[in-house]
């Protein structure tokens, strides 16, 4: 299977958020702004989003990398690197 692209990774993030915060409309998310405040995730919710991402993508996100997930754009960049894809086409 080829590495997921940006769109697939974004969809995975929306899927993970949707399980924790189903009221969120992905269209309302501003990709360059801090994500957690926008979609109202507390620390516990955020951990659960990470767990969901692990289930969906099969990658472990160590705690020291949580800062990489500050915004949607940064999270996609980070996951792309972790899943072995290229950042081309951004």
């Amino acid at each position: 299977m080829s590495a997921p692209d940006r769109q697939q990774l974004q969809a995975a993030i929306f899927d993970a958020i949707g399980a924790i915060a189903p009221e969120v409309d992905p269209a309302d998310i501003r990709p360059d702004q801090p994500l957690r405040q926008q979609v109202d995730l507390d620390s516990f919710d955020f951990l659960n989003v990470i767990i969901r991402l692990h289930e969906i993508l099969g990658i472990d996100i160590p705690e020291s990398d949580y800062g990489e997930l500050l915004t949607l754009d940064r999270a996609v960049d980070y996951l792309l690197r972790r899943c072995g894809g290229s950042t081309a086409g951004k």
């Binding site: 915060a21 189903p22 160590p62 990398d65 800062g67």
Partner: protein, 586 residues
């Protein structure tokens, strides 16, 4: 192996502990002496903000950094005591200009931005009552609190206003003014609001602090009970005596400390110890706008050379999950004291502090109603991991039970009972707003009954056992099940809801809801998600349930109340206990 006692080395070095000998400190302590350590207003009276800011700004500490603000985006801004005096005076003048005299209720709904601190201190200077709301509350908790608190003015940010407050304005006829802090530097232009920064800039930086008395109301903090709406606990300016001295005794604050309280001012810890106590003690206080992020926190501890750190068990347990190695990649030469409050700190977490930071974590205990730390583990006192410590000097705490005659009897060592405090300490709450009866019920025989069950050992150490009621302790905050149930039952498919605290290794308890549906509605994953989103939209992440289960019906008492205790026992697979009041039993 967890040791039963962690002994301390005798005091040495630059910072000999403020409290060196517990028994001697208790014997010598008097609240009058503690009051004498403060300045008082020049013409008599006592004002929290004067003790926190103006008296330092008028003296040799004027140029000392009072607040070091760390923005989420990496910006950093220092505010000296003189800066804080000027800014808070400007805000006090803004309030006067809006016609807000002493006693006006000024609410703040914001993240940890500098304007929050300026608003709180300016309100206190003006003689107004300050109430900070957690920015993760959804519209319903915000509305309830603004309404019960009879807010005159609300300070919030443009984005929070648009998202959570604008839709409530019609239901808040008493709210006179809303001041918006722009999300960017540009001026805000939103109907029916004023621009905070513009008004602050136009106001004078000279203000004579209102001559408040120690008994004048200063702070309003909401807390949750088992039934009914949240309770607005009122605190007075005299509470500053306790804020100040507990900072010295329980947190061991020394003048040159860099102190970091990680709590949000939307909760009482973030007010008493995130704003007031470090400032009255003249130290430098770190304010981090960002959310919990272990790596970021380690960097802050290191870079800002934090010496005293006050945090919460949930954060400690999340850091533990990340492992000791992540901490040890950093060095913290300045760090010398760590304390924690919110829920009982498990023994493993106390010891993890030693493993990771080379320092044990000192648990302490207090509540919204107590206004300040009441029971603590001190820098120079041996720790019994798992115990909240011993009562502060000047605080009489006991584990008690009520006799058949309705009197209070102190339990024997080791016996479980309700944790109680002899009424009369300076930061004791003075009322629940508009609810005198509920307030009176908290006191029996001259004791304040905390609602926490505990036991005290032969050495006087207090151990938390549980709650005496159904209130949920989650991530250091109390959540009232009724508030959550009410929001869920607003959904057209929900017949009724019962909400419990489900034990959780990180949050202590998480909010779990059981829902019975109305006829014509069937349980489904789609409906479960809909209800979750419905509750989150109304309540916000801080209060909304994390889990929802469907049940065909909820257990009731014969008088019709939902038996949350039974829901909890079933959830945990525990014995159901006394079900004699259960509806349908003989």
């Amino acid at each position: 192996m967890i040791p039963e006692v962690i002994s301390k080395q005798p005091a040495a070095g630059r910072y000999p502990p403020n409290l060196r000998d517990y028994a001697a400190a208790c014997a010598q302590f008097s609240w009058a002496d503690a009051r004498a350590a403060l300045s008082g207003l020049p013409d008599g009276g006592l004002n929290i903000a004067y003790e926190a800011v103006d008296r330092h700004a008028a003296g040799s500490r004027a140029t000392h950094v009072a607040l070091r603000w760390l923005g989420q985006d990496g910006t950093r801004h220092d505010y000296t005591y003189a800066d804080l005096r000027d800014l808070s005076s400007r805000f006090a003048n803004v309030l006067r200009g809006l016609g807000c005299g002493p006693g006006s209720r000024v609410f703040v709904l914001a993240g940890r931005i500098p304007e929050l601190y300026v608003s709180v201190l300016g309100t206190l200077k003006s003689g107004g009552v300050s109430c900070t709301l957690f920015s993760a509350f959804g519209p319903e908790p915000i509305h309830t609190r603004l309404e019960i608190g009879a807010a005159d003015v609300l300070v919030t940010t443009e984005s929070l206003y648009r998202k959570k407050v604008a839709g409530l304005r019609e239901r808040l006829p008493r709210l006179r003014q809303v001041l918006l802090v722009g999300d960017r530097d540009a001026e805000t232009a939103v109907a029916d609001t004023l621009d905070f920064r513009k008004m602050l800039a136009a106001a004078s930086a000279d203000f004579q602090v209102e001559r408040t008395s120690p008994d004048d109301p200063a702070l309003l903090h909401f807390t949750s009970g088992t039934t009914g709406k949240p309770k607005g606990a009122v605190h007075v300016h005299g509470a500053v005596v306790a804020h100040h001295v507990t900072g010295q005794l329980a947190l061991d604050l020394h003048p040159e400390d860099v102190f970091w309280c990680t709590a949000d001012p939307g909760w009482v810890t973030g007010m008493s110890y995130g704003i007031i106590s470090p400032l009255t003690n003249g130290v430098t206080s770190i304010v981090d706008e960002g959310d919990f992020d272990a790596e970021r926190w380690y960097s802050i501890l290191r870079q800002e050379q934090v010496s005293v750190w006050y945090t919460a068990p949930t954060a400690v347990r999340m850091m533990m999950k990340g492992g000791t190695a992540a901490v040890r990649r950093h060095e913290f030469p300045a760090l010398r004291f760590i304390a924690s409050v919110g829920e009982p700190l498990n023994p493993q977490a106390v010891l993890w502090g030693i493993e990771a930071f080379g320092l044990p974590i000192h648990d302490n205990w207090w509540q919204t109603e107590t206004g300040g730390i009441m029971i603590a583990n001190y820098a120079a006192m041996a720790i019994k991991p798992g115990s909240m410590g011993r009562p502060l000097p000047g605080v009489e705490a006991a584990v008690v039970h009520q006799t058949a005659e309705g009197r209070i009897a102190v339990c024997r060592p080791g016996e479980e009972g309700e944790l109680a405090l002899r009424a009369g300490w300076p930061s004791m709450f003075r009322g629940y707003l508009g609810n005198g009866e509920r307030y009176r019920k908290c006191f029996v025989d001259g004791w304040y009954l905390s609602g926490d069950l505990a036991r005290q050992d032969d050495d006087g150490y207090v151990w938390f056992v549980g709650r005496a009621d159904d209130v949920i302790k989650s991530s250091g905050h109390l959540i009232g099940p009724f508030e959550v149930e009410s929001a869920l039952t607003e959904h057209p498919a929900v017949a009724e809801a019962g909400v419990i605290g489900k034990p959780d290794p990180v949050q202590f308890e998480t909010v779990k809801a059981f829902v019975a549906l109305k006829q014509g509605h069937e349980p489904s994953e789609a409906l479960r998600r809909e209800l979750l989103g419905f509750a989150r939209k109304r309540l916000g992440a801080a209060v909304a349930p994390k889990e929802i289960d469907f049940l065909p019906a909820l257990p009731h008492t014969r008088s019709g109340k939902i038996m949350r205790r039974l829901l909890k026992a079933r959830e945990l697979g525990l014995p159901e206990g006394d079900t004699s009041t259960l509806e349908g039993t003989a």
